[in-house]
């Protein structure tokens, strides 16, 4: 493998590491199993595309737009999804992600289903600095999640996962805590979306496909939910495994799928 290929792979690991990290923030710490997290990758990526089509490529503006739109959609969809729990939450987040998927596919001005090729990269994310930018973003996001997890808010979030009723009894609102965490995670995932779009210089609805949301869940679960760094390791594992199996055979999913089934079945049963 040449240096360029390796750097490309490492950048992908960093990008999906950020996305998986943000999912772990709500899944591992907050107990919210979202099956629609890739929607925020897509929203972040489309923020890049839409600004690009309007000749705006300044990094602060692009990041602000991506984070803002992700947070706004998370606030709306999260407020509805968090009214339910358990398996309904999984299905509802999936449905909201599908909504984003079809919405991005119908953006005729930005390529529709075929996707949109960027006219140019966002500033600070050019080919030379892209790799470094990804690593810096990953480090910043990780530091942010760590700090947030250790903060008063992070403690409350983990308490909601462990015992919702007790948190209520303490006078806190579990709904508000979970919704806040959901919005934060979406905003972080938006950052990953911006990086993903710049890495390929191409944006398509497939970024928000539900299989992608499944991949993110796999990364978090394989790395160990609730550990934060595990999500990054899981992302590295999945991205590298896809790359290696993909080189081996065109039908790599025939190996990947059963591997996944075995990985899940061999997990120790936990009492929750």
């Amino acid at each position: 493998m040449s240096y360029a290929v390796l750097a490309d792979l490492a950048a992908r690991v960093a990008v999906f590491g950020i996305a998986a990290l943000s999912l772990d923030f709500i899944l591992g710490l907050g107990g919210m199993a979202s099956f629609g997290h890739a929607a925020y990758l897509a929203i972040g990526a489309y923020a890049v595309a839409i600004l690009d089509a309007n000749a705006i490529s300044s990094a602060p503006l692009v990041f602000a737009a991506a984070i803002g739109s992700c947070a706004a959609f998370a606030l709306l969809s999260g407020a509805i999804a968090l009214r339910t729990g358990g398996v309904n939450f999984i299905m509802i987040t999936l449905a909201f992600a599908q909504m984003v998927y079809f919405a991005t596919g119908s953006l005729a001005d930005y390529g529709g289903d075929d996707g949109y090729t960027l006219l140019g990269r966002t500033s600070l994310l050019g080919p030379r600095s892209y790799f470094a930018a990804c690593l810096i973003c990953l480090a910043l996001c990780y530091a942010f999640c760590r700090t947030a997890a250790a903060s008063r808010f992070g403690r409350a979030l983990q308490a909601v996962r462990q015992n919702r009723v007790r948190v209520q009894a303490l006078g806190l609102s579990p709904f508000a805590i979970q919704l806040t965490a959901y919005v934060i995670a979406a905003a972080i995932c938006g950052v990953a979306g911006v990086l993903l779009a710049n890495g390929t210089e191409f944006v398509s609805p497939a970024y928000g496909a539900w299989q992608r949301s499944g991949d993110l869940l796999i990364m978090v679960m394989l790395g160990g939910a609730g550990t934060l760094h595990g999500a990054i390791l899981g992302a590295a594992g999945v991205v590298v495994a896809e790359e290696m199996l993909g080189r081996l055979t065109e039908h790599w999913r025939l190996i990947y799928g059963p591997l996944l089934v075995c990985a899940v079945l061999s997990r120790r049963r936990r009492l929750r």
Binding site: M91, A95, W210, L217, Y256, A263
Partner: protein
């Protein structure tokens, strides 16, 4: 007016197909507490097996029957090999394992049948069309599909409401622990419920195959629609699934054909042409969000 009628028939047809898939999914969830992402795979297998069996046997009806039974058999094998080990586990683990299964089966279908879409013939008996109103004609096959799906839905309602096995299924959905305590062979009940669910989804695949292109991953989108149906109808509720299936089928079909016209009433023609399709594809999710905002457990929650 005639367009509305034709589209309503199409919506009814989509809704009933969805019900065949969602009914299996909701019972499997209600009785066994298993989230099955690989359920859409059964629909796809039904369609592919239908194409192959009909070509092999040479008779449409026998081929369709064989494909339905084979799809059920595949379901039983999957139950024995994978799902049996998922009972009682975390929902998230079930999602991941069945996701892996789905990737593998989709890929296996690509290997066996290739990636090119296949076509399935219609039975000669049902390939004509009937006059509807004036010059408008409606294909007999679509009407037959609606009738067949309604018949299955009726039989299912009878089986669940009036037979001993159905009583066990209902009891399993509401009081699983009591059922175990009463000494019912839950494992066998699970396996047969799973097999029937897989067969129903396979049957939906066979029925739909002559109207759609048979291709890998064709079950995935319907699976997500089936999830929407279950969430709207209330997890584990059969009648909820039926009402929600028709609601989703009609909303989606009518939305796609009339959203642009509706948008034109509010916006300029060019804006409407852009907004209409976007709104149409999102409509069922908006309906779902609206239902959940009012009733978080769905329209007819099985468990209080």
């Amino acid at each position: 007016m005639t367009l509305l009628l034709v589209q309503a028939l199409n919506g009814l047809q989509l809704g009933l197909l969805l019900f065949l898939i969602a009914s299996g999914l909701t019972v499997v969830f209600g009785v066994m507490d298993v989230v099955n992402l690989a359920h859409g795979v059964q629909y796809m297998l039904g369609a592919y097996l239908g194409v192959t069996c009909i070509a092999f046997i040479g008779n449409w009806w026998l081929g369709a029957l064989a494909a339905t039974l084979l799809a059920g058999a595949v379901g039983l094998v999957l139950e024995r090999c994978v799902f049996r080990y998922l009972y009682g586990r975390d929902h998230l683990e079930q999602v991941l394992a069945t996701f892996g299964l789905l990737l593998a089966v989709n890929e296996a279908v690509r290997v066996v049948w290739g990636t090119a879409p296949l076509q399935m013939p219609m039975p000669a008996l049902l390939s004509g069309s009937l006059p509807l109103i004036g010059a408008m004609r409606v294909p007999v096959y679509r009407l037959a599909l609606i009738a067949a799906a309604l018949a299955v839905a009726g039989a299912l309602a009878l089986a669940i409401g009036r037979t001993r096995a159905g009583m066990l299924v209902r009891a399993g959905a509401t009081h699983p622990w009591m059922l175990r305590a009463l000494g019912v062979d839950v494992r066998r009940l699970f396996a047969s419920v799973f097999g029937v669910g897989a067969m129903l989804a396979g049957f939906a695949g066979v029925l739909a195959a002559p109207l759609v292109s048979v291709e890998p991953g064709m079950g995935d989108n319907l699976l997500i629609l089936a999830f929407v149906v279950i969430v709207i109808g209330g997890v584990g509720a059969m009648h909820g699934a039926f009402v929600a299936s028709l609601l989703v089928g009609l909303t989606d079909t009518l939305g796609r054909s009339f959203a642009t016209d509706a948008a034109r009433a509010l916006l300029s023609a060019t804006a409407a042409a852009r907004v209409g399709p976007a709104v149409a594809s999102m409509l069922i999710y908006v309906v779902m969000a609206a239902v959940l905002a009012v009733r978080p457990a769905g329209l007819f929650p099985a468990r209080a």
